[in-house]
Amino acid sequence: MSVYDELLKYRDLDFAAVFEQVTDDDIQRVISKDRLTVFDYLTLLSPKAERQLEAMAQQAHRLTVQQFGHTILLYTPLYLANYCVNQCVYCGFHAHNAIERKKLTLDQVRAEAAAIAATGLKHILILTGESRHHSSVGYIKDCVRILKDYFTSISIEIYPLSTDEYSELAAAGVDGMTIYQETYHEANYAELHPAGPKRDYRYRLDAPERACQAAMRAVNIGALLGLSDWRQEAFLTGVHADYLQRNYLDVEISMSPPRMRPHVGGFPPRVIVSDKNLVQYVLAFRLFMPRGGITLSTRESAALRNNMLKLGITKMSAGSCTAVGGHSEEAAVGQFEISDERSVAEMAAMLYARNYQPVYKDWQLW
């Protein structure tokens, strides 16, 4: 049994027919329930639930404050390398894109780490493109060894690994893993990933579970919004998150709802996901998984991030740069354009002004 079998249950689900049957009363009943089923979650993702967003928002806010308090964890991404053997049509690091390829030397990693640590952050997310040659597990381990001098929590967002490799990195000090399925729609997935190891839908799909088995402390999943119908993607992401939480009770499961951003490849989103859609997704997920983490990255605008603060978000990136070496040197081309360019200090000031506490450090075991 893997999450693939769980998702198969919904492969032939007629979403339109389900949404058609949802009534306003159903939505109200679900909003006030203590524990939601996956079909309750789907009810909250229905077009009709757009009419009850305010009631959902009130409940989402209440649940989030109860579970997490008035706090937001801040972290920042650190791009180690942008070499990539894949050809994801929507990504700036796509193997055939003529961009300058770079990989940080260990000295450069130290310089980047020092620059980020000076802002007070203790949580870092390290990223690479998919290239086992340029960004091997050994290289990542070397980087982690340096980063441990500066940070108390190190997460990875890299190509999918085997369970043993995840265990190796966990033993080296990595406590979190993020991987996006991009799209749960298998046919769309095949089309959007024309070549390279990433074509293997199932190997990627099972990666979060392998990380759970390897005792990673925190696992973050998501779909890249803009590639397929967002309501279905949101639903299947929730099914996936719930599957992981049920089977790996001790892992902190989180979700991110990244929307597509402009990048050098210029692939337009296939589906437009409006601000309202994004809000509905986040609210529904919060009601479905009251303890689930929800990350909102700097892909979104400062104004939207400020407004979504009270709707269920628990983590935000700050001072982000999607280019390799961008924290300490002149930035190269990034993976995509960020939208909220505020520094860590500016984010903290915004949070305090809204009666929230920025949390710089929320984990330490080493």
Binding site: H70, K122, L365
Partner: protein, 261 residues
């Protein structure tokens, strides 16, 4: 029989406490609120997650907001097993946080229920290392006895799952611990209102720990003061020895009066 009201002191780990309200710090909108909240509540024991302690970053370091007069009780929040709890406890001591440690071992991220078995293991190791160990636990009598045997300084059963503000749902079990365990029983988690804290104290709990109820109140400082009063009132009532609860009004014509005639 009424107990002595004067000089009511709770002794834990060799420290004498006059306040029986312990406070948590994890959910405040601003650390700057902490000194005010502590002073309004009169609390002398403040718990802080080791995961949040950052001695390198003065401005945001939560410990720096705790008044010197208080005992800092670091907790091992985030630990999923005994081994992690032990490592976190040692980190806390190395960071200069003293030798009190609240063990939290939680391997259930949905309800955040404590793992008593791993908690007992961690307690054994840390008590042997000289820590004053206060374990957060599910109210189970045998587990509490094992924790006592392992060297715990108190036991901290939950009233309801963390953060729920649902009150003393485990009342019957906590009562049994109070009666059967020789250690102080401190009700931790779930207490949502001052009346519930008072109830726990009336039952004979040695102390109560509160975080969410204060941190998420509209006015945390006023709520902290209310909890301080409620805990003191409940304790006083316990010491005063409440009268027996009568199911029926005392009959004016007793049924056995003829026996005296």
């Amino acid at each position: 029989m009424a107990k002595n009201l004067a000089g009511d002191i709770l002794t834990v780990g060799g420290k004498a406490l006059t306040s029986r309200l312990f406070l948590g710090t994890g959910k405040f909108a601003n650390n700057r609120l902490i000194p005010e909240v502590v002073s309004a509540s009169g609390s002398q024991v403040i718990t802080v997650a080791v995961r949040r302690i950052d001695p390198e970053y003065k401005e945001e370091n939560i410990v720096d907001y705790i008044p010197d007069t208080c005992i800092v009780m670091p907790n091992t929040s985030g630990a999923r097993n005994a081994e992690e709890a032990v490592r976190i406890a040692r980190l806390a001591r190395a960071a200069g946080c003293g030798n009190w440690i609240k063990i939290e071992v939680i391997s259930d991220n949905r309800y955040l229920l404590p793992d008593n078995i791993e908690t007992i293991k961690a307690t054994e190791i840390l008590a042997a290392e000289g820590f004053v160990v206060l374990p957060y636990m599910s109210p189970d009598l045998m587990a509490a006895k094992r924790l006592a045997a392992a060297g715990a300084a108190a036991v901290m059963p939950l009233g309801a799952p963390i953060g729920t503000n649902r009150g003393l749902k485990t009342k019957e079990m906590v009562k049994i611990l109070i009666e059967e365990v020789s250690l102080p029983v401190i009700v931790d988690a779930g207490i949502g209102r001052p009346s519930e804290a008072a109830e726990a104290m009336e039952m004979g709990a040695a102390a109560v720990l509160v975080n969410t109820a204060v941190a998420t109140a509209y006015n945390p400082v006023a709520m902290a003061a209310a909890f301080g009063l409620a805990v003191a009132a409940g304790r006083k009532a316990y010491l005063a020895g409440p009268g027996a609860v009568q199911g029926y009004a005392a009959a004016s014509s007793p049924l056995t009066g003829f026996l005296h005639e």
